[in-house]
């Protein structure tokens, strides 16, 4: 299998310069809203420290908390299922649906079910699946994957949504977002009323009470779960937190980090099934325990999926989520994906400038750049990068490690830039010159100037 070539996919994305700039701006706008919201909370940094420490504790006692959650949820009347991988998860969900003769299913946003490719699996088995989050419905109708974990259709312009809705749900071809949202409301209410079952994700699962907390703005998770006779919640095993009081910490951080809202419009706590209905939860591993076993990358399990690292990332903003070729794009995705399959995603950790902005905004203070750097080392050591990149890096490493070699190389490059600038500006030879010209070389380096002006030392 070829490694995901983020750079190639991104090259296609940036071909439309205007669109790239628009995408960049849209996400930067969200990042700025996040800043405003964060700065309005005096104890923001204390909350981040707390969240980080709570996660570190939780992950170090994860098995106990999972068992406690299972016990409490079961006592509340929730049916708890466990799935080692995506296939088992999908099989469990299909089994529950089949036993109740479910034909029509509504879903609210769940990155886990995207990761497990649940929708195509259910559709193959004759279940009609309707995503009810507006952004998710847009990408589902367009037969695409979400390009962002919080804003699935951020890559689509309103004119494209209008054309899509016109073609698929019989709306008029009108790009007004208010009109399009209204058209979707009518379309989705029909599906919600007719549904035999609802699937939601889980933002937080509280071990102490067995409560499952789901955060939405549209109200679609609640409409689905409360109208259908069957609700299945699907969660990664990293979603459990110890106690109710910890919700206070995470909920104060989540929406502010994600969209700059003080909290989502709805923060729903599902504890017990409503009378006459069923509530199930599927707890999924799918590679998470493996990641737990890697001390260098364990911290990535702290992620609460706010998307702040995507919004701030200069590479994500200018290359789009689809360029990553994985369910969770952006900086955190580039840390998670190699854990699933290093050979397939070896190049994703290179889709970063290591500028560190992601770590600065992360509400649970995951050191993403350090993990990206570590994956790069493992990718090279495992032989997952091209010979040219490997040799280039070795040459660079050898050069930068010795003062005399560095000085000699500098002189050589300055001379080449003056005498044969086209040589170094050839993208095939020097990929860095793709899309940019190398600067005009100065006559001498600072060190040379210093020696000349101030004597030899």
């Amino acid at each position: 299998m070829n490694p995901t070539t983020h750079a190639d996919a991104a090259a296609t994305f940036v071909r439309d310069a205007e669109r790239t700039a628009w995408h960049d701006q849209a996400l930067w706008f969200v990042r700025q809203r996040r800043d405003l919201a964060a700065h309005a909370v005096p104890e923001w940094e204390a909350l981040r420290d707390l969240a980080s420490a709570i996660k570190r504790h939780t992950v170090s006692h994860l098995a106990d908390y999972l068992e406690e959650f299972e016990q409490r949820a079961t006592r509340n009347g929730v049916v708890v299922h466990w799935a080692r991988d995506a296939a088992e998860h999908n099989g469990i969900v299909l089994g529950i649906l089949r036993a109740r003769g479910v034909r029509r299913l509504v879903k609210s946003k769940s990155m886990l079910t995207e990761e497990c490719r649940l929708n195509p699996f259910l559709e193959q088995h004759g279940v009609e699946v309707v995503e009810t989050d507006l952004g998710e419905r847009i990408v589902q109708l367009a037969d695409e994957e979400p390009s962002h974990i919080v804003m699935p259709a951020i890559h689509r312009k309103k004119e494209e949504v209008a054309a899509l809705f016109h073609r698929t749900i019989g709306a008029r071809d009108d790009p007004d977002p208010a009109y399009l949202t209204e058209a979707a409301r009518h379309h989705l209410r029909g599906a919600l009323v007719a549904a035999d079952a609802a699937i939601t994700g889980v933002n937080f699962a509280v071990a102490e009470t067995g409560a499952m907390v789901v955060c939405t703005n549209e109200g679609n998770a609640d409409l689905g779960a409360h109208l259908a006779p069957l609700h299945i919640a699907c969660m990664g095993l990293d979603k459990v937190i110890p106690r109710t009081e910890h919700l206070g910490v995470f909920l104060r951080l989540l929406a502010r980090s994600a969209t700059g809202q003080p909290v989502t419009a709805y923060t729903s706590h599902y504890v017990a099934p409503r009378p006459g209905a069923e509530l199930h939860v599927v707890i999924v591993d799918n590679g998470r325990t493996e990641q737990l076993g890697r001390p260098d990358f364990r911290e990535s399990l702290h992620c609460i999926r706010c998307g702040a690292c995507l919004n701030t990332c200069p590479v994500y903003r200018r290359s789009g989520g689809h360029s990553y070729g994985v369910t969770v794009a952006g900086p955190i995705g580039a840390v998670l994906a190699p854990g699933f399959d290093l050979a397939a995603h070896a190049l994703l950790p290179f889709a970063s400038t290591l500028c560190g902005s992601c770590a600065d905004v992360c509400p649970v203070k995951i050191d993403i750049p350090r993990q990206l750097y570590r994956w790069r080392q493992l990718a090279v050591a495992g032989g997952h990068v091209s010979r040219r990149k490997r040799l280039g890096m070795r040459l660079l490493g050898a050069t930068l490690a010795h003062v005399s070699r560095y000085e000699r190389a500098g002189r050589l490059v300055r001379r080449l830039l003056r005498s044969a600038p086209r040589l170094l500006n050839r993208p095939r030879l020097n990929p860095w010159s793709r899309g940019r010209e190398l600067p005009v070389a100065p006559a001498e380096s600072f060190r040379e100037w210093y020696r000349r002006e101030r004597g030899s030392r």
Binding site: A53, I54, L66, E218, D222, L223, G248, H269, D285, T289
Partner: protein, 206 residues
């Protein structure tokens, strides 16, 4: 069995025990400040509010804000009376006919204008979501400064379902344009009812 396999793998892989930090008390602020902050944030999240003077008529407030409302489901013990009956058994197709729901909130959170509602006050869990418009009643005494205080106040309260509701339903999924009224209520009116005590109309306090 997968359960055992997963738990065994977690136990084999989890790190050395790290301590659980205590959550400190963050600054609360004066009560009058809480009300003001709540109102400001509620407006920011697309909600509206009205203060009810002692002894004044809730029905009049509803009439002035929602003049053309036909199908009202009220869960509070005063006029306006429900014109539409919702029970646990009401079918989805009928539930979505609800035009206006009036529900008492158990507590409000000043920092984010969230109001706690749970199934003790709800004839059907879907009610605050299916209604085209939602009116929440809240006593100012039930305002908490932040989410920490809110969860502390809810501790021990038994519920099968509960939610913090902050403003009407909304989406910005199309080009980051904020649209109020996505799948749930198109508007939210918060009635501060000073005339009433903080007691809920149904059920008991936990």
């Amino acid at each position: 069995m997968s359960r055992e396999a997963i738990l065994a793998a977690v136990r084999a892989h989890q790190a050395e025990a790290a301590p659980l930090p205590a959550i400190p008390a963050f600054g609360a602020g004066a009560h009058t400040e809480l009300v003001a902050r709540f109102k400001t944030v509620l407006e920011q999240v697309g909600g509206a509010w009205v203060e009810r003077r002692a002894g004044s008529d809730l029905a009049a407030i509803i009439r002035s804000h929602y003049p053309d409302t036909a199908r009202i489901v009220s869960t509070v013990d005063e006029p306006p009376d429900s014109t539409f009956v919702v029970t646990e058994e009401t079918a989805p197709g009928d539930l979505v006919e609800v035009h206006l729901a009036i529900v008492r909130g158990r507590l409000g959170v000043a920092e984010n204008a969230a109001v706690w509602v749970d199934d003790e006050h709800l004839p059907h869990r879907a009610l605050p979501f299916v209604a085209e418009h939602l009116v929440l009643l809240l006593a100012p005494n039930d305002l908490m400064p932040d989410m920490h205080a809110a969860y502390a106040a809810l501790a021990g309260r038994p519920f099968g379902y509960g939610a913090f509701i902050s403003g009407p339903s909304k989406t910005a999924d199309i080009e980051q344009s904020l649209v109020i009224g996505a799948q749930g209520p198109r508007s939210l009116l918060l009635v501060f009812d000073r005339g009433d005590s903080s007691r809920p109309m149904h059920g008991t306090l936990g």
